[in-house]
Subunit: 257 residues, 6 copies
């Protein structure tokens, strides 16, 4: 069930059955010579929508805009400030919490969103922590980037090994190829060396330099990713894996928090 | 040409031909018993995308979230603060202006967005007004709600007369019916009286009461709109009109400002 | 009755008779070679005060500062950010709503204020839309620029035709001449061409370029306005028209919203 | 010379002679049973304007709105947040500094404004402290509440002794009586005990309790002030003293900072 | 009793005995050729902690960061914006007020903090002034810079006369020498002239120029202070004076507000 | 070398040798029946200071205040909003970057800080990403919580196994016992069940419920931690491990980013 295609009466009825919602987050940023600028939003949205159609799950509208300042030297990137994303998440949650929603599962498609997302959710808990102790309903948050799903993670290592890299990864490119075959584009091999595990770990959450430096380090926009390896067939397998892992993960969130 | 389906190299090439972009704005709010919660975003996005495919025009990602506090008593509505929408517009424009974009055409789908949108654009001009007078490129803004297009306006008066009303209008419902035939839903007649011209004028820009009052005044969510009159055929005609008017309007903006 | 000349006991007594207030908004910005920098604030304040003295109406203190970044290249202009004006409107309304005021009629003297003003009022409605549905009093807003009053509009077309223009208009200059005969100054003819109706419409709400560009386009500060046509006699007639239209308009707001 | 009654050309010419400006600050708050709600703004504005007419001094538009939350339980009080006043001061100074103004003399009429005013001016200096060291012009600030002028201070002690008190003082009431004889009102004696010197010192800058507590402590709104002692004649003497002290003080600021 | 060395159960028990707390504020900024960058935080913290150990007083964690933009041209200075300090003070007070604290005694070590501190506390009172009048507990604030204590003030005049100056004063240097004998450093005589009383008064609250100008005026960072006069023995006497004056002052705040 | 005990001349000299700094972050929050409220700040500060004394490393002043809304129902907890911590980090970095610092190593002591910290650092990179591409120095960030150090992690598993838990862990209690033997306190066994690995993972970054719910779930404040197991001897071993791991980690950051 998708919020944007529902009426308010249908949402009212859904709230009798469940208080949970899946919220996709993306980013609008360059993804190298063959990656779509909307990749992160498109992937998260597609996975969330298919989770919604296969499980009894409501998916909310996608937050397409992410925090990606390091990509601002590449034309087409739209990066929002952390504080902007936080304001948007805050209003999103406040609105739905007013209607009775309690479980917010964020399905994330962009590493740089995680810091601001967690920051906003802590401030939402803070504002509910002041005032009286009475019967206020508790709200809970859950954060998951789709490439963390165990089956997805196994597949992407298997498909691309250390060509997966960090940005404009072949796995995300493959998913968009499966979703939008009319937009499949070719890419030359990357001329940046493969990234070490420690590099990946210390730069997690898109802890990169400023845009000018970043483009100097990674001239075609890919960060260690061999995106030319992507195929639509792999994309389909990754999508299927994400959807079934995602449904499990969401249900476990509803039960355990 | 759509930004989300482009690569950064394609955007770089586009900037050699044009400095303009169309930006759709919507809202996520109840639209009465048969209207989709995503109506405003879906309409603006569809019109903008088709403008882009028929003209040599770039369309940016949709700002789906609008300012609609008056609808917060209806489940499913997500309303952002004016300041949130302003922050988002600001970052969107700053990012693209850095790449060289100069003409920002906002194609709006929700009345309540216009105040904050204008407010944000004035502050963007303000920050460019400080500092030196030198060779900085000027940026310009244009604001158009799609129902203002002259052919659209003629058609909707012709189709629905004073049943058009103000919120959950049959014209916007018809457009979504044309776009998403699988989501066409039925509606009982509205039991709210038709709105006078002066009512419409003084409440323009969604100058409504707070959510509690608003739901009392308009119990099924429609504000004077006979949304049951909508048909997919009318929707197609409205869409076609919006697209051709929109292309003209956009081109005139590029030339005259 | 003017708030600044009243005691708190007098305001308390007024609240037994009415919950409405008129709030003038202006701007501090250049108004061409013979226009006063305070024109917008002076006009709105004078009209509001005279409405207050002739009707049983309370007028609040003037918000003199407006959003006019396009005029920042002319010495003497003080432009506030949209967010600043919004904060001021917010505190103004919150304070008076705490005392029991319910009807806020904004009498505006500057086009660039309308976006931020509407934005702020929507956020005020938003904050009242959260929380319980209980017996909270509703507040309502009304926005009117004084040149929109029908009699005023007729007069200014009659007096100046397309010499009225858009900024530093002869009508506002005439009003200040009537109010402050000691500050009447002469102006050479403008050397900018008359503005088309479509120009006026698309630049409404002061949708102008940045300050550097704006001064290049309009070197003496007037935007298509033949301000040398203004006379104090016309100013008196415009003032009288504004006051009687304004009283009607305000009363109709109290009754119909 | 008053900014609001000047043209931009006149301000441009003034800047050739001086880079200084006097900025009056007030408050819109209850002033007891016979004090006008606009007292603080009216006093500061009148003194500043007369300084301007007697010296070669430019006076800017009054910032009428002050920080007075402790008076919010009395109808008619409009209190702005500290952050709102700071935003307003910031935009005021940034605008004038862009035109070349360098010396900002704040003539204050309300104790509660001083903290936020100083806070804003420090942040203005901060933003000028980043970036290059080059030839940027320095700006300087000066803060003076009019009752601190030595001759004024002597007179008010002489006239009212410990009946001067802290809020709705007979000296400020007297000044408004001199300015607006049509608004002179009578007051019963205050029934609050005289305040000690240490009370006055520790509550300086309007360091009061919240509005509910404050009204309980001071039921008619006066804080230890015997405002019934005020006469228009005293007001005239206080005004004259303030103007001549003010002109000296302003000139000394221009020379010594 | 120090909050950072207590358990929550101990704080709960303290609240049965007292609702008061002492909060030290400092600054991280250059203090001339022999002064420690942490001087202001170190002094305020040490005095507050010793007050806590000698009286039955709780001391909260030090707010080490202050508003000192004028020192930003000297390496090592960390200056926060006024709005940052205000946010921090706001959260500090809101947290403790939730637990039941009512009396907040700020022991200040840096002049530039006073404006923002007062601004924040007024906004805290404002937010408690809205809403119902009911049984909400009142909170009260008190502001004291340690060099204002009468015995301290007498001593520093006696020790250093007009060599005390305004920044990097021998009195604060002496206190840090007493506290941290391992960090005593030597200083050449200052080559800036002694400051007049009026200079000190008009620049109180660190009303200085921007960082570039300030370093030009005061090349070694001291503002009229002969910091080479400081000795650890004087520091001990100043500390003892501050502690006993401070305990009295705090107790008088608890009783009289 | 510690910033607070240095002079500006010493910092200037340090910058000739290195552009790096270690910044400790903590939290002021309850740590169960025997844990100190300042635990997180005390641990991070102690480790950072000792790294500074053993390596040629500069340590900045501790940011003691963290984001811990979930602990607000326990007296003594001071939780700042995410936006407050972000403002503080922003000013801290901007100040030091102005002096020439380039490498910012955050040594964190509280899980809830990581989201806001990353959010702030991304916005700092964003503001450096606008404007010209020229010769601006790059700045880089590194985030490390001290319990992630490999030797520390091995030791704490060895000492406490699944009694380590998530909040008020015996390892952090042990470190404070080693540092402040005068504040060692006893604790009863926790009566909360041991936490599963998946619980720890999904609640990482202190993704907890609001304060009211949290206290209900964890009545003595510990989150699955058997803090009674802590001994000062273990604390010493943990400290030593943290210091040597920390020095390596910091040096690797300087070299590799
Ligand atoms: Ni991606
Ligand atoms: Ni709509
Ligand atoms: Ni005007
Ligand atoms: Ni007053
Ligand atoms: Ni100091
Ligand atoms: Ni801890």
């Amino acid at each position: 069930m998708e919020l944007i295609f529902s009426t308010w009466n249908e949402v009212e009825a859904y709230l009798d059955r469940s208080k949970g919602i899946v919220i996709p987050l993306g980013s609008i940023e360059q993804h190298g010579p063959n990656g779509l600028i909307g990749t992160d939003a498109l992937c998260a949205e597609a996975i969330a929508r298919r989770m919604a159609s296969e499980g009894e799950i409501l998916v909310g509208p996608t937050i397409s805009f992410g925090v990606a300042p390091f990509n601002l030297a590449f034309p087409g990137t739209i990066s929002v400030r952390s504080t902007t994303l936080m304001a948007l998440v805050t209003d999103y949650v406040r609105s739905l919490a007013k209607h009775g929603f309690e479980h917010f599962y964020f399905l994330n498609g962009h590493g740089g969103n995680l810091g601001p997302l967690r920051a906003a959710c802590q401030d939402l808990q803070a504002e509910r922590s002041y005032g009286e102790d009475g019967g206020q309903r508790s709200i809970r948050f859950f954060f998951r980037s789709w490439w963390e799903f165990p089956t997805v993670d196994t597949l992407r290592r298997e498909f691309y090994d250390d060509g997966e890299g960090m940005h404009a990864t072949p796995s995300e490119i493959a998913v968009t190829q499966a979703l939008f075959p009319e937009h499949v584009k070719a890419a030359p091999p990357t001329n940046v060396a493969r990234l070490s595990t420690s590099y990946l770990r210390e730069h997690a959450g898109d802890n990169h330099a400023d845009a000018h430096q970043h483009r100097q380090h990674f001239p075609d926009g890919r960060v260690g990713s061999e995106s030319g390896l992507a195929t639509p067939q792999q994309g389909l397998m990754l999508l299927d894996a994400a959807i079934s892992d995602g449904i499990c993960d969401y249900k476990s969130f509803l039960e355990s928090f």
